[in-house]
């Protein structure tokens, strides 16, 4: 994580110096928007919507179940531990992150997944 932050700031320095060298006047919006990838620009509502989308698309989800932030994977959706692992892999792929096994064990509901993604700076 630390190395990522370092990499991010090194990148920022490099682009800044490049920009001043190439075009001293005015900031280019394109450069800044690419820099913003290094900070987590996801807001909680967005994450929640996407997690819920993933859960809905998951084929073992009971179709009738209403999915909201409080939905519990095992209790409300009837998923066993293997299904939960699969669902988490789907969430990992949606946000391009890897959830470590220890943390993944603790994630048992939509809100916990949202919290984890929100706390992970690499999620996008």
């Amino acid at each position: 994580m630390l190395s990522n932050i370092l990499r991010g700031s090194a990148m920022a320095l490099r682009t800044t110096s490049m920009r001043t060298a190439l075009r001293p006047s005015g900031a280019s919006p394109a450069l800044w928007s690419s820099l913003r990838l290094y900070s987590s620009s996801l807001n909680n509502d967005d994450i929640r919507c996407r997690v819920i989308d993933v859960v809905k698309a998951f084929d073992k989800t009971t179709a009738s179940a209403q999915i909201n932030a409080d939905t519990h994977f095992a209790k409300d959706l009837g998923l066993d531990s293997l299904d939960t692992v699969e669902l988490l892999v789907a969430i990992e792929e949606e946000f391009d992150v890897e959830i470590p096994d220890k943390v993944a064990d603790e994630i048992k509901s939509v809100s916990q997944a949202v919290d984890y993604i929100a706390s992970n700076p690499e999620a996008n």
């Binding site: 989308d53 531990s81 293997l82 892999v89 789907a90 990992e92 949606e94 096994d101 993944a104 064990d105």
Partner: protein, 97 residues
Amino acid sequence: MTSPSRTQVLSLYKQIIRNANGFNNYNFKNYFLRKARTQFRETKDLQDPETIQQAYRTAKQELGVLKRQSVISQMYTFDKQVVERIDSRKHTQNSGR
């Protein structure tokens, strides 16, 4: 030899699922996903430590094969099957975005 813990088994399952998802080819990908699901469900009620150990070892070997093959699969392009979605977001339900 002790039998693998719950965490180890789930971790193995996760790695298998993740590597199976790496396949470019729809048929291979879904074959391995189905295979993993069935095999892990078949072995979930095993009691005898020796048999559990055996099943764990087999699955681990298969994971090795799976890893190699999914990397190889990524080196070749395949035409998309008609059943596959074209949009890039893999897990959204409706493609109308």
